[in-house]
C-alpha cells in the first residue's frame, strides 16, 4: 500500500434490491489532492462514498485509509480515521442550533455529564472565523439558507478534525457567488493539507477545482483522468457513453398574446412578514421568462401563489385574460396551468403510487381518466404506456412503484405528465435540479419545443446557465421582489449574479430580508 494514498478502494461491489450500485469499483485518492467523482444519476457515486464512510457495508471489496486496511467499519471508525463527509442531502437537525449540530456525537462536557454549551459555541465560532464561514452558533438550522447549512456541514467535519473531506454534490444548491466562496474555502483546506473528494454534475467546476477525476458509469469506473489533461466534452462522453450536446440551440422566440399577467402581487409568510411584495410579471405565449435568484428569495412563494397553492395578500394573477387570484390548485390546473414543482419527491410524486397513477396526478378527476367519480383503468394505462414510450421512462413498467425510479426518471415522469395535454402556461421550477446531463439535455430541448408550440413558460432556476440558455427574458428576485429585469442574451453571468445578491442598482432589502441580511428560509406551502 502506497504512502501517498489517503484512500484506496479495491473491487467494491454493492448491490441493492433493484440495482447494482457499485460494480467492482477501484478508487485511489492521493494525499492532499482534490479528487472529483463525476457520473450520471445513479452511476453509483454516492454509494461508493457511503461505503468509504462506513454508512453502507459493501458486499465485496476492500478499503484502506492511509495504507491501513479497514474491515466492517462504521461511520464512527471512519471519523476516527479522519474521514468527514458532507452529504448530498444535508444531515442537519432542523430543530437544533448550529452549535448543537456541530458537536452532536462528540460533545464537550462539563460537570461530568452535562453538555458544555459554552465550549461548543466557542469551537464553532473559532472554526467559523478560521475559514471565514461567518456562522452564528446559536442560530437554529431551520432559519438558515442552504448555503449556510452547507457551511455548518463543513464545520461539523472540521470540528472532528477530518483530514479527508468528502463532499457529495456540494454545489447543486448554491449560487455562483456561493460556489466561488465554497471553492475559496476548499482551496484553503487543501492548502492546509487536507484531502478532498467531491462529487458533482458540473463539469466546469471539476475542471476548475479538481486535480484528478474518476468518472463513473453504471456502477463502474469508466476512467480516471487528470483535470489538466481532459476537456468537458471528453468527460461528458465518458460519463454518458456517447457525445452529448452541452448547449441546446435556441431559435428566436415568436411571442404572442400575454398568457400570465401578475400585478402587484404580495403574500404573507408564516411569521407575518411579506414573502412576496408587489411582483409584476408578464409571460406571453411562445416565450420563456426566466426567474433567477438565490434560493429563498420568494421564488417558491411566487410559484405557489401562481399555481394556487398559497394565498396572495394583495395584487392579482391573470391567466389567459381571466382573473385567477387565489383560485384553488384544481381550478388553475383546469385552466391549463401545468407545474413542475421544485421538490419532486415532496410535491411532484406520490411515491407509493404506480407510475401510471402518478402520470394522471392532477388530471385524475377529468375525462378520460375519471367519469362520474369512477376511475377508468384502461384509459389510465393507455395514457401511461404512451407517455412512457414518448419520454423513454425506465423501466417501462406502468405498474412499477414510482418510488423505485431513479431521480432522473422521476423528474422525467413529472415532465412527461406536465407537458402532456398542451398546457397554456407551464411553471417550471428547478426542472433539472440534480439530474444528469443526459436528462438535462432532454428537459431543455422539451422546454424549448413547448415554447415553440406556443406555450408560455415561467422558468425558475437557481442554475444561471440554465436561465441564460433558455430564457427569452430574465427577471431577478431578491427579498421577495423583482429587483431587475433583462432581455435574454443581453446580460452576463456576472451581472445577474450581482443582482441576485441584491447588489448594484437592484433596490435591495425587501422586508423579507432578515435584519442580519440573510434571506429567510422559504416556507413550504403553509396555507
Amino acid at each position: 500500500m502506497s504512502e501517498r494514498h489517503a484512500v484506496q478502494m479495491r473491487g467494491i461491489t454493492k448491490r441493492y434490491p433493484r440495482a447494482l450500485a457499485n460494480d467492482r469499483v477501484d478508487l485511489d485518492v492521493e494525499v492532499g489532492e482534490v479528487h472529483a467523482i463525476v457520473g450520471e444519476n445513479g452511476a453509483g457515486k454516492s454509494t461508493i462514498m457511503k461505503v468509504l464512510y462506513g454508512l453502507t457495508p459493501p458486499d465485496e471489496g476492500s478499503i484502506s485509509l492511509w495504507g491501513k486496511e479497514l474491515s466492517g467499519h462504521r461511520p464512527a471508525d471512519a471519523i476516527r480515521e479522519g474521514v468527514g463527509m458532507v452529504h448530498q442531502h444535508f444531515m442537519l437537525v432542523d430543530t437544533l442550533t448550529v452549535a448543537e449540530n456541530v458537536v452532536l456525537g462528540a460533545e464537550p462536557c462539563s460537570h461530568g455529564c452535562l453538555l458544555d454549551v459554552a465550549a461548543a459555541r466557542e469551537r464553532v465560532r473559532q472554526l467559523s472565523s478560521e475559514y471565514g464561514l461567518s456562522l452564528d452558533p446559536d442560530d437554529l438550522i431551520e432559519n438558515l439558507s442552504v448555503g449556510l447549512e452547507q457551511r455548518v456541514e463543513i464545520v461539523k467535519v472540521l470540528y472532528r478534525g477530518a483530514k479527508i473531506l468528502i463532499l457529495d454534490e456540494p454545489t447543486g444548491v448554491l449560487t455562483p457567488q456561493e460556489v466561488r466562496e465554497l471553492f475559496v474555502i476548499l482551496r484553503a483546506l487543501r492548502e492546509a493539507g487536507r484531502t478532498i473528494i467531491f462529487i458533482t454534475h458540473k463539469l466546469e467546476e471539476v475542471l476548475e477545482l479538481a486535480d484528478r477525476i474518476t468518472v463513473m458509469r453504471d456502477g463502474r469506473v469508466a476512467g480516471v483522468v487528470s483535470a489538466a489533461a481532459t476537456t468537458k466534452e471528453e468527460l461528458a462522453r465518458m460519463m454518458v457513453g456517447r457525445d452529448v450536446l452541452l448547449r441546446v440551440t435556441r431559435e428566436e422566440a415568436r411571442p404572442g398574446e400575454p398568457v400570465l399577467q401578475v400585478a402587484g402581487l404580495s403574500a404573507i409568510g408564516r411569521k407575518g412578514s411579506h414573502v412576496l411584495e408587489g411582483i409584476d410579471l408578464e409571460v406571453r405565449s411562445g416565450e420563456i421568462l426566466g426567474v433567477a435568484g438565490v434560493q429563498g428569495n420568494g421564488q417558491t412563494e411566487l410559484v405557489e401563489v401562481i399555481t394556487g397553492l398559497r394565498r396572495a395578500s394583495a395584487g392579482s394573477v391573470t391567466v389567459c385574460g381571466r382573473e385567477t387570484t387565489n383560485r384553488s390548485p384544481r381550478q388553475m390546473r383546469d385552466l391549463g396551468v401545468a407545474h413542475i414543482p421544485e421538490d419532486r419527491q415532496a410535491r411532484g410524486l406520490v411515491l407509493g403510487f404506480t407510475v401510471a397513477e402518478n402520470l394522471i396526478l392532477g388530471r385524475h378527476h377529468r375525462k378520460p381518466f375519471s367519469s362520474r367519480g369512477l376511475l377508468s383503468l384502461d384509459d389510465i394505462r393507455t395514457h401511461a404506456e404512451r407517455l412512457i414510450e414518448e419520454h423513454d421512462l425506465r423501466p417501462r413498467d406502468p405498474d412499477g412503484d414510482a418510488g423505485h425510479l431513479s431521480g432522473g426518471n422521476q423528474q422525467k415522469l413529472i415532465v412527461a405528465r406536465e407537458f402532456d395535454g398542451g398546457p397554456a402556461l407551464l411553471v417550471a421550477s428547478q426542472p433539472t435540479r440534480g439530474v444528469d446531463i443526459g436528462a438535462i439535455e432532454f428537459v431543455h430541448t422539451s422546454l424549448l419545443r413547448m415554447r415553440d408550440q406556443g406555450a408560455a413558460i415561467l422558468l425558475i432556476s437557481a442554475e444561471l446557465t440554465e436561465i441564460m440558455t433558455l430564457s427569452d427574458s430574465i427577471a431577478v428576485m431578491y427579498g421577495g421582489k423583482i429587483v431587475a429585469q433583462f432581455e435574454g442574451g443581453a446580460v452576463g453571468e456576472e451581472e445577474l449574479g450581482v443582482a441576485m445578491t441584491g447588489g448594484a442598482g437592484a433596490s435591495a432589502g425587501g422586508s423579507a430580508v432578515r435584519s442580519d441580511g440573510r434571506p429567510p428560509r422559504h416556507e413550504m406551502g403553509a396555507r
Binding site: Y53, L55, R74, P75, A76, D77, A78, I79, R80, M85, H87, M91, L92, V93, D94, T95, L96, E100, N101, V103, L104, G105, A106, E107, C109, C113, L114, L115, K156
Partner: protein
C-alpha cells in the same frame, strides 16, 4: 374548585399519567411511537403486586414494576427497531399481550383472572418524630403524598435536564428528528432508540407500580385507559417534560373536579366527560398544532 382536597387528589391521579407520559416522551423523542404505554402500565402494575406479594416489601414491588416495564418494552424495541416493523402495530400488539398476559398470570398466581389479594402498600415517607420540630416540619412536606408522587415530580425535572442538558439528550432528540444525521456522526441510531424505548418502559412501569401499590392490589385492566390519556398528555405537552407535567396535572385536576362535584345537578355521565371535552377544546383553541419529532414512526 380549588379546594385543597381536590388538588391533592388531582396530583395523585396525575402521578401515573406523569410517569407514563415521561416514558412516552423518551420513546417518541428517539423517534419510536409508543402506543404501548397502556400495556406497560398494566404490566408494571401486575409485576409490582406479584413482587410485593412474595416479598412483603413494596419497594421490591417498585423495582419489579420498573423491571417488567423494561422487559415488555424490550419487545417493542426489538420488533420495531431491529425488525423495523410498524411501531403502531407493535404497540397495539403489546397492549393486547399485556392485557392477556397479566390476566393469565393473575390466574396462575392467584386462581382468579381478575383480582389479586391485597398486599402491603407503601408507607408514606417521614422522619422520626424524635428528631424534633424540624422533622415535624419536614414531614408536613414529605409525608403528605405517597412517596412515588415525589419521585414522579423529581423525575420530571431530571428528565428535563437529561433531555436538554446532556449529550445523551441531545443525541436522543437528534435521533427522533433526523436519524440519518445521527448515524453519519457515528452515533448508533439503534442504541439511542433502544435507550428511548427501554426508558419509556421503565417510566411507565413505575407508573403502573404506583397505580397498583397505591391501591394495594392488582385488578385486571386496572390501567383503564390511562396509558392513552398519558399519550394525549404528552402530545398536549408538546413532547416536553414540563408540558407533559402540566397536561397531566390538568387531566388529573379535571378528573378530581369531576369526582369532587358529582351528584349535583349535572348527571354523572356528563361530569365524567369534562376531561375529555376539555382536552378537545384545549387542543383546538389554546394549543393548536403540536409538532412531533420529525422522524417519528419511521423505522431506521
Amino acid at each position: 374548585m380549588f379546594e385543597l382536597a381536590v388538588l391533592d387528589s388531582a396530583l395523585r391521579m396525575a402521578t401515573p399519567l406523569i410517569l407514563a407520559s415521561l416514558g412516552g416522551l423518551f420513546s417518541e423523542r428517539s423517534g419510536v411511537v409508543n402506543i404501548a404505554l397502556e400495556g406497560i402500565l398494566l404490566t408494571g402494575a401486575f409485576a409490582s403486586i406479584v413482587a410485593t406479594y412474595y416479598t412483603g416489601n413494596p419497594w421490591a414491588g417498585v423495582f419489579a414494576g420498573v423491571f417488567a416495564g423494561v422487559l415488555i418494552s424490550l419487545i417493542h424495541a426489538i420488533v420495531s427497531i431491529v425488525f423495523k416493523a410498524d411501531q403502531i402495530v407493535s404497540g397495539v400488539a403489546i397492549n393486547l399481550l399485556a392485557m392477556g398476559l397479566t390476566q393469565f398470570l393473575t390466574w396462575i398466581v392467584w386462581g382468579s383472572s381478575a383480582n389479586s389479594p391485597s398486599v402491603q402498600g407503601m408507607a408514606h415517607w417521614s422522619l422520626p418524630e424524635i428528631w424534633g420540630p424540624v422533622a415535624r416540619g419536614v414531614n408536613v412536606v414529605i409525608s403528605h403524598y405517597p412517596p412515588l408522587v415525589y419521585v414522579a415530580l423529581i423525575l420530571v425535572a431530571v428528565s428535563h435536564v437529561v433531555l436538554f442538558r446532556t449529550p445523551f439528550g441531545l443525541r436522543l432528540r437528534a435521533t427522533g428528528e433526523h436519524p440519518e444525521a445521527v448515524d453519519t456522526l457515528g452515533v448508533s441510531v439503534h442504541a439511542m432508540r433502544f435507550a428511548g424505548v427501554l426508558l419509556s418502559g421503565a417510566f411507565a412501569g413505575l407508573g403502573g407500580a404506583f397505580l397498583a401499590l397505591n391501591t394495594h392490589q392488582f385488578v385486571k385492566n386496572m390501567s383503564a385507559g390511562r396509558g392513552f390519556i398519558a399519550l394525549a398528555a404528552m402530545i398536549f405537552g408538546k413532547w416536553s417534560p414540563g408540558g407533559a407535567l402540566a397536561a397531566c396535572l390538568l387531566f388529573g385536576y379535571a378528573e378530581a373536579v369531576q369526582m369532587g362535584f358529582q351528584g349535583q345537578a349535572v348527571p354523572t355521565q356528563f361530569v365524567q366527560m369534562i376531561p375529555y371535552v376539555l382536552t378537545m377544546v384545549a387542543l383546538v383553541g389554546v394549543i393548536g398544532r403540536a409538532r412531533p419529532p420529525a422522524a417519528i414512526g419511521k423505522p431506521y
